[in-house]
Amino acid sequence: MSSWNTWHDHPRMVTSPYVDWWLMQHMLGSGPQPMQMVPALARMDEFHALHDSADSLVALGSDPATFAPGTAGEWPVFPVSQSAANPDYLASLQGATGWFPDQGTYPIITKDTLVAGVIDVDIGLGHRRFRSADGSSRVLASWQQGTPWKGGPPHLPFGAQLMQNDINALLACHSSGDLTRPLDQEGFNRAAGLVDNDRPDSLRGLAGRTAHGTHVMGLVAGADPVEQASFSEKVQLLVVNLPPATAYGEGGAFLDYYLVYAMRWIVEMHARITRASGLANTPPLLMNISFGKQAGAKDERQVFVKEAQRLSEADKILGQAKFNAILPAGNDNLSRVHSRFEVQPDGGEQTLDWRVSPDDGTSNFVEIWVEKLLNPGTTSAPVQLDVVPPGATPGTFKQATSGQITELHNGLGRIYCDAVPPIDGKSVRFRYLICLAPDLFAKGGKVGAAAGKWQIRVRNADVIAHTVRASVQTDQATLPGQSNARQSYFDDNAYQMFEDTGRAADTFAYFSGADAAPDLDTGPLVQRRGTLNSYAANRFVATIGGHRQSDGRPAPYSASGVGQAVHSNGRGGPTVTFPSDDGAAHFGILSDGASDGSAVAMQGTSFSCACATRWVIENWLAGRFDPQSDSPDLCTFLKEGPLQVPRPDKWWDAPVGREKVGRGRVAWQPARPVERL
C-alpha cells in the first residue's frame, strides 16, 4: 500500500477543496456527464435584492483558462451539467442593474398573502392541492434547476423557470383547455421539465410512487382548493426544484451552491413580486428547505450557512422579507458518522477507525475540524494528521500549513489543510478534508483506493488541549437509481449499537418513570451527539427533529446536537421536534404522493420539518404569529410549540434529552385527507 507524500503547497484554481478534488477526478469532460463551470453566487458579498448585485459576479469571468493556478487567486465556481447550464449567463449580466430584470412580468399578490418558499426535489406542480378553486396554480414562480437549458430568461444560470402564467398555460394545455378538468399529469410533468426520460442523469421521481418534494410541499401548503379555499388563496408558493442528487457531486459538495442560488432566487422573486403588487408592507416569507448533508464546519464558515447569515442580516438592512428558514435536523443519528474527542497538548494522540466499504463507486470524504477559534493569519495547523491505509503501518506525523495538501500515489487520495475564516474574517478554524478515490472503477481496470479499515491518527502539536470533530460526508450516487455510493463510517468497539432489549440504541433510552433520560451515547470516540445536519446546526435557521406521534418516542434516526452551542452562532440541539412517524407499525407520516390525489407515507426529519413550517403558517393564519416580527422571532415561537400544543395522554411518561428534541416535542401534524388503519 502506498503512503502519503509530504505536505506541499497546492495553489488552487477553485475555492472549494471538494471542487478541486472533483476536477482532479473527472475534469470537465470525462465525468459522468459533460460539465460547465458556473460562478458560485456566494461571491456576491454585498447583497442587495433589487439593486446592483450583478457587478461582482460579472467580474469573475467564466473561462478556466484565465485562472492559472497560483496566479489569479481562487475561483469560486462549481461544475454544472452542460446540458442544464446557460452558456451566456455571465454575458447576459453585463450592464444589468440587478440579478433579475427590472422589466419582468411578475404575478400579483394581495397584502393578505404569505409566501411559502419550498426548495426540494421532485415537486409536482400540477397537484390539485397546490392549486386554487378555479384550477389555477398557487405557485407564483418555479425554478427547475436541473432541467435542460432551452433559452430561458438570460439571468438564469441553469435550468428553466416557469412563472405562474406559464404554469397555468401548461395546466390548461394538458386539461383540455379547462383548468377545472382532469389533468394529464404525465404530459404536464414532461412539458414542465419535471420528468425527463431522455437523459440518464435526469429527474424521474415524479414518475414513481413517492416524490420527496411533493410530499414535503403537501405538508407545507397542500390544501383542498374548495374546502380550504381561504388557506389556498392566502398561502402562495415559490418553488425551486433542485437538480437530481447526482448533480451535487459525490460528497454533496455542490449542493451548497445550488441551495444558495435557490434561496437568493426566492428572496429576489419575492421582492420583485412584492414591488410589482404595489404592497407597502412586505408579505411574510417562510422557507422550507428539507435538505442537508453531514460533514461541514457546522457554523458560518460553510457556504450554505454563510449565505443564511447574509440573508438573515440583509433583511434588517433592506427592510425586505425577513429570512425565515426551517430545516431538518437530519437522519444520520445512527449512521456512525461523527466523532468528537480531545487531544492533549504537546503530542497527545487519538486514533479513529474509518471503515470504507468495498464496491463503492464514489469518492469518500471525512472532514476534521479543530473547534478552537484561532487568530486570523494563523497558518500552522494546531493538530497533525496521519491517515493509515488498510494493512499499512502508521507513518510519521508531519506539520501542515493552510493551503497545503498531501497525496496518495496515483491520485487515490488527497488531504487538504485549510484555515477557514467566517464572513467577518475575525478568526480561523482549521479543517482537514480527507478525500479517497472510489475503491471500484467500473471500467479500465484502474485500481481504486483500498476498501477496509483506514485509521485516522490525530496528534496535538500545540501547547494547549484541542477538541477535534470528525464527520463522514454524505455519499451520493453518480446516477439516479444507482447503488454505487456507499456511506463509509467510523468504527469503535465502545459504541453501543443496541439496547439490551435488542432495540437499536438511540442517544437516550426512552423509559417511563425514569428521572432523566438514560444516556446511551457514552462512547469515547464515535457519538450520535453532533450528527445534526451541517446546514441546520446554526442559529440562523430553525432546526426540526422528529418523534413518533403514537407514544412520543424521539425518532432514533433523528440527529442529535452536542448539547451546547460550540460557537456563538452554533446550536446544541434541534429547536423542537414534530412528528416524523405515526406509530411503531406506521413508519413515516402521510402526505401527497407522486400522483395527484394519492397519499403515501414517508419517513424522516424532512417531513417533520415540513410539519413545523405548516404549523407556523396555520398560526399566521390564526393571527397568533407574524413571521415578519422580531418578537417573537421564528425560533422563539417554535420553542413555544410544546407548551401551546397539548401533550397527548397516550404518550409515555418518559423524559427526553434536549440534544434530541431541543425545547420539546410538538404533537401536531397537518390534517390529512385519509387516515391510516
Binding site: 500500500m1 464496491d359 471500484l440 472503477f441 484502474k446 481504486g448 483500498a450 479499515k453 456507499r486
Partner: protein
C-alpha cells in the same frame, strides 16, 4: 384389447416396415437434452486429468496444462478475513441476489444474454453442460486443495447461508460462473475471456459479482473467487477447444503471492488473461455438432464467421 381389435392378425416379420438404418455416431439430436448431456459428459471428462502436489493443483486437457492454482496457506486465509469483515457491510444491499444465486446461477446470465429463448435452446444446453463439467472438476480440485471456510476462523462471520461442507478453495460459484461466461463469450463473440473483459462484456462483470457475492454472504475469501476465475476460464476455454478446436488457454493463480489482495476488477484482469497453447485440436464429434448449432443461434453483426468465430 385395442391391439387385437385394430391390428388384426399379426405374424411378424411378415408385413414389417422396411427402412434404412445407418445412424451417425456424432448425431445426438434424437435424444432429449438431459440424455445428450449425460452421453457427452462422460466423453468430455475423459479428456481432463487433475494432478496435485503439496503446494498446487494442476488441471490438464488432452495432456496439456490448462490451470495451475497454488494452495492457500492458513496465514493467507487468516489475512483474507479482513475482507469478510468489509464485505459484510454489503449484505443488506445484495441479499436478494445472493439468495437467488445460492439456488442457481444460470438465470442471471440469461438476463444479460438471452439464451433462455426457444431459438437458443442449444446454447442453453451447451452452457448447462459447461456448468456440469465445471462442477465435477471443481469438486476434485476443492478436495485436493481442502481449506477451511471463514466460519472456522471466527464466530463473528455469521454467514447469510449455511456453509457448505466442502473446501472453501476454489469457489464453486466462481468456477461455474467464469466457465459459463467463457463458454458464452466464445459462442456469441468468439472471444477469449481476456478479450471479452477488455471489450467490457457484462457477462464477465456478472461472473465476478456472483463470485464476490459469496464473500458478502460470508462463505468465501476473495482468493477463492480468484482461483475459481482461473479454473472456470480454463474449463470454459477447454470446452470450446474440445468442441470446436479453438486454441487451448492456460490460467494460473497464486493466493499466497499477495495475501492482502481483494478480488477486484483489476485483479480479475490479471487472472483471466491466460496464455494460449499450440496444442493440436481433436474436436469431439458429438459435441462439435451441437456447438456449431449453438454458435448459429447468435446473429452475427460484427462480420465474424458463425462456425469458427474468425473475423471477416
Amino acid at each position: 384389447m385395442i391391439q387385437e381389435s385394430l391390428a388384426g392378425y399379426w405374424d411378424p416379420p411378415t408385413g414389417n416396415n422396411s427402412f434404412d438404418w445407418d445412424p451417425d455416431p456424432d448425431d445426438l439430436d434424437y435424444l432429449p437434452s438431459n440424455r445428450r448431456i449425460e452421453v457427452v459428459l462422460a466423453q468430455i471428462l475423459s479428456r481432463f486429468t487433475i494432478e496435485s502436489d503439496a503446494a498446487s493443483v494442476t488441471v490438464k486437457c488432452d495432456g496439456t496444462k490448462i490451470c495451475t492454482i497454488q494452495k492457500p496457506t492458513l496465514p493467507t486465509l487468516n489475512t483474507q478475513m479482513k475482507w469478510l469483515r468489509a464485505y459484510a457491510d454489503l449484505r443488506e444491499d445484495r441479499s436478494t441476489e445472493i439468495l437467488v444465486q445460492s439456488e442457481e446461477i444460470m438465470s442471471p446470465f440469461s438476463s444479460v444474454r438471452p439464451f433462455d429463448l426457444p431459438k437458443r435452446h442449444v446454447t442453453a444446453e451447451m452452457l448447462t453442460l459447461t456448468q456440469e463439467v465445471a462442477i465435477l472438476i471443481e469438486q476434485q480440485v476443492k478436495h485436493l486443495c481442502r481449506s477451511p471456510r471463514p466460519v472456522e476462523f471466527s464466530d463473528r462471520v455469521m454467514p447469510m447461508l449455511d456453509t457448505p461442507p466442502h473446501s472453501t478453495y476454489p469457489s464453486g460459484h466462481s468456477t461455474e460462473s467464469f466457465a459459463i461466461a467463457s463458454a458464452l463469450s466464445m459462442l456469441e463473440y468468439g472471444e477469449t475471456p481476456g478479450e471479452s473483459l477488455s471489450a467490457d462484456r457484462p457477462i464477465f462483470h456478472l461472473a465476478q459479482r456472483i463470485a464476490v457475492n459469496r464473500t458478502v454472504a460470508g462463505l468465501h475469501y476473495p482468493v477463492d473467487s480468484a482461483a475459481g476465475a482461473a479454473l472456470g476460464c480454463s474449463v470454459g476455454s477447454a470446452l470450446a477447444f474440445i468442441a470446436s478446436g479453438t486454441p487451448l488457454r492456460s490460467f494460473s493463480f497464486d493466493p499466497n503471492a499477495n495475501p492482502e489482495a481483494d478480488f477486484t476488477r483489476a485483479a480479475l484482469e490479471t487472472v483471466i488473461k491466460g496464455k494460449s497453447s499450440s496444442k493440436t485440436p481433436a474436436p469431439l464429434g458429438i459435441l462439435q455438432k451441437r456447438w456449431v448449432k449453438a454458435r448459429g443461434e447468435w446473429l452475427r453483426r460484427d462480420g465474424r464467421d458463425p462456425d469458427t468465430g474468425a473475423g471477416v
